[in-house]
């Protein structure tokens, strides 16, 4: 970055006033040594840059202690707990109205840009559609390197050529690809360090998820619930790409839960794992959510609960062994993937996980044992009007799709979907993007063919439905009550960020990026980005100046105070 700054024209944007790299006596001594040993100044700068970056290696300890460096955003959700909360408070309710765009980076990608960027020591790492990855000078938005994978023409994504972000560990960043590879790129150059095939993309496997770096492992979950894949979560050695463990989200013969599948239906049972989980270093457990059973909207032929579809899994980080599970929607026939970020909250002396599920209920779970504490509807739903002995909502008679179709709420897109929520420890509220929409669910029996979409269903906007409504909702996890809500003009796919400045940030389908008062959800500021938002915001700081970044349209935007 030092070199980059010296090469940049000395006007029109903030030049670094000091190096972002921390200096220490040993590096100063080395600098003197090098100055004496090597005359050419360019080379000297290069050496110093290398020293500086190697100092900035992202160690597992840094990821665990991410709270100590709020200037960085080092994992998908900003920390291992999944809160997507930034302790930065320079941008606040007092001055948010004066936010301005600092830069825009055009990715040239088309479709939905779902990436959550990472920022480490002044460099932003992000992904875009068609398996692009790139590094930017996070102060100026100027690219440092870019990688784009040559992907086969016959890949089988369900919902666009999307990617939700990278993981970073050591001196590498990690990308899951649409042809089901995991790729490690050099963080300084974008060079491919290793590239392994996790599964056969021809049978419908793909990666869209941002991986999670845990210890020396890169944890990643497969997509392909629409193709009847057998879902799994993998962990790879970050250094070599060697697979250390795999947890199949659909148990095989002899494994616990196998009897929740009829006949051979488990072989094509789906239960993908396409959104990033969280990690509890205290118990060394990974919490990872899973998606719909396949075929997604037709339960005939797969009688049973269909474990571990639509579940939250607690896996031992070292072995991938299942400690406990909690299934949100049993025997799902509405495509209600439980692939929402499971947010770790400590409250009232309890270690909890809060998850706003696609099925319309907000669940609070004891993360020490997977026991349900509460489940409360947070949007319009018609599928459940009773609970079982454990307090879990159970489906009523009207929930099942029929041949001729009938209306169920929420619709197939769910009350929420993959959009990242946030938990603000200052307001003790959980903020989530929500949608009120009902669909007509109609079955359409389909045979399974490898690599062939396997829905068993069709769903439609309900003819007589009210317009779809979209909200940002603030839920009190202690009661499940919706305390505040902001109604968008239409439903949005944006994630949500909270900051210590008393702010909540989110975007809308009309292209606005909005700063809300975290207490009242009153908009304090907005900026029209010119493209719909499918991504979640982050906060970071460089040289003591706070920035907020988000992807919209085909671009990444950075905002800061004037």
């Amino acid at each position: 970055m030092t070199v980059q700054a010296k090469m940049a024209p000395p006007s029109n944007h903030d030049l670094p006033r000091k190096s972002p790299w921390k200096s220490g006596p040993s590096r100063a001594a080395l600098g003197v040594l090098l100055t004496k040993a090597f005359r050419p100044r360019g080379f000297l700068h290069t050496i110093i840059l290398l020293v500086a970056i190697s100092h900035a290696q992202v160690t597992p300890e840094r990821l665990i202690n991410s709270a100590k460096e709020p200037q960085n955003w080092m994992t998908y959700s900003g920390d291992y707990s999944g809160k997507r909360f930034s302790a930065l408070d320079q941008i606040s309710v007092i001055n948010a109205h004066s936010l301005v765009a600092k830069w825009v980076y055009q990715t040239a990608a088309t479709g939905k840009l779902e990436t959550t960027p990472l920022v480490v020591d002044g460099i932003m790492y992000a992904s875009a559609q068609d398996d692009r990855a790139f590094a930017l000078d996070a102060r100026s938005g100027r690219p440092i390197w870019m990688y784009q994978r040559q992907i086969p023409s016959d890949i089988r994504p369900c919902c666009g050529h999307v990617n939700r972000g990278l993981a970073i560990l050591g001196d590498k960043v990690f990308l899951g690809t649409l042809d089901a590879h995991v790729v490690a790129l050099d963080a300084k150059t974008g060079n491919v360090i290793w590239d392994i095939a996790a599964a056969d993309y021809r049978t419908g496997n793909s990666f869209t998820v941002a991986p999670l770096a845990v210890k020396n492992l890169i944890v990643i979950g497969i997509s392909g619930g629409e193709y009847g894949v057998r879902g799994f979560i993998d962990a790879y050695d970050a250094g070599t790409g060697t697979r250390k463990w795999r947890f199949y989200t659909v148990p095989g013969p002899g494994e616990q839960g196998h009897d929740t599948w009829e006949g051979d239906s488990w072989k094509v049972g789906g239960a993908p794992a396409w959104n990033t989980g969280t990690y509890d270093p205290a118990t060394n457990q990974i919490f990872w959510p899973t998606g719909n059973p396949a075929p997604s909207n037709r339960g005939a032929g797969r009688a049973g609960d269909n474990l571990y579809s639509n579940s939250l899994l607690a896996l031992d980080a070292d072995s991938g062994k299942l400690n406990w599970y909690f299934q949100f929607t049993k025997h799902d026939e509405h495509d209600w993937d439980a692939t929402q970020v499971p947010v770790m909250i400590d409250a009232g002396g309890k270690k909890l996980i809060a998850q706003a599920d696609r099925n319309g209920f907000f669940y609070v779970i004891d993360r020490t044992n997977g026991k349900l504490i509460s489940a409360t509807a947070y949007g319009k739903q018609t599928w459940s009007d009773s609970k079982d002995a454990d307090g879990r909502p159970v489906a009523n008679q009207n929930a099942e799709p029929t041949l001729n179709g009938h209306t169920v709420c929420p619709g197939a897109l769910g009350t929420t979907n993959f959009m990242a929520p946030t938990y603000d420890p200052q307001t003790n509220l959980f903020y989530v993007t929500a949608r009120d929409q009902c669909d007509v669910f109609s079955t359409a029996p389909q045979p399974y063919e490898p690599g062939h979409a396997f829905y068993g269903s069709a769903y439609f906007p309900s003819e007589d439905a009210e317009p779809y409504l979209g909200f940002l909702k603030a839920i009190d996890p202690a009661t499940g009550e919706v305390k505040q809500k902001f109604q968008h003009t239409s439903p949005t796919w944006s994630g949500v960020l909270s900051t210590a400045g008393g702010l909540v940030f989110s975007g809308d389908a009309e292209g606005n990026f909005i700063a809300f008062d975290a207490q009242s959800l009153k908009p304090l500021w907005h900026f029209q980005m010119g493209g719909a938002v499918y991504a979640a915001p982050i906060a970071f700081a460089i040289d003591g100046k706070e920035y907020i970044a988000i992807a919209a349209g085909s671009a990444i935007y950075s905002f800061g105070l004037p």
Binding site: G111, K112, S153, D154, I155, R156, P157, C158, C159, G160, H161, V162, T208, G225, E226, Y227, W274, G291, N292, S296, D335, D337, T339, N404, G405, N417, F418, S442, A444, P445, Q446, E449, G451, H452, A453, Y455, S457, A458, Y459, F460, E463, P467, Y468, H488, T489, S490, P491, W493, D508, A509, E510, G511, N512, I514, P523, H526, Q528, A532, Y534
Partner: protein, 276 residues
Amino acid sequence: MSGRWRVGMIGVVFLAIGARGADDRNPLAADPKAAKAGEYEFRINCALCHGLGAKGGGRGPDLTRAVKKHTHNDAEMFQVISNGIPGTAMPANGTNGQGVGMTDEEIWQIITYIRSEEVKAPAKPLGNAAHGKELFYGDANCSLCHMVEGKGGRFGPDLTGVGGSRTREAVIDSVRNPSRRLAWGLTEATKEFPQEYETVTAVTADGKQIKGVTLNEDSFTVQIMDIGEHIHLLEKDKLKSFQKSRESMMPKYTPEILSYKDLEDVVTFLLRVGAK
């Protein structure tokens, strides 16, 4: 699955029945099993726009009509499903980012299904199109707000294509009950714009009332056309009031205002224009 309606294009080109293509006649023609499979494929791939039962869904044409605008035989229909129809919302097979499209066999199944649902004889034109045109541009006052083939008003949706993309019943319903289902504004079948022809009333800071339909809207601004076709660009926080209503500004054409026979003539006119 995450994102959008996946009732769009799905599947995989396995070339299950070889590289046979549009030049050939339908190898599955009149096969009842293929028609059944095609019915399910149709639901998944086509029904979002063309409706369950292929009778038109308000966005795509009624495919049970014996005479179709873009295809005259199975081979042409195969081409249309495979390649889409340029200039319309009909997409090419496998172009929506969801999988790699239907197989040839599945396309033939869908064609077999559509054929099985077709009304056997072309529907006899029930009305008098020439009289319908006179009414449209004259006494029925339709053209004050609606344009057909470049002539007419801008306040309501352009109706040039409506006869081709909607069922006769849907058109009649829109005339008799305009508020029952508000017309979509910017929306195309494959897009996700939420705007409809909702009625909006804004009162500006200086007390001026503006009533019209939304051309577009977000949380902070609104773009309104009033009945005089003036476009108003407004910031919501500067307005005294802003109200929306799902009561259409189009008057309800009851049988007293527009007789059954005259309505039939207007619809026949629209269907004829739409079939061009």
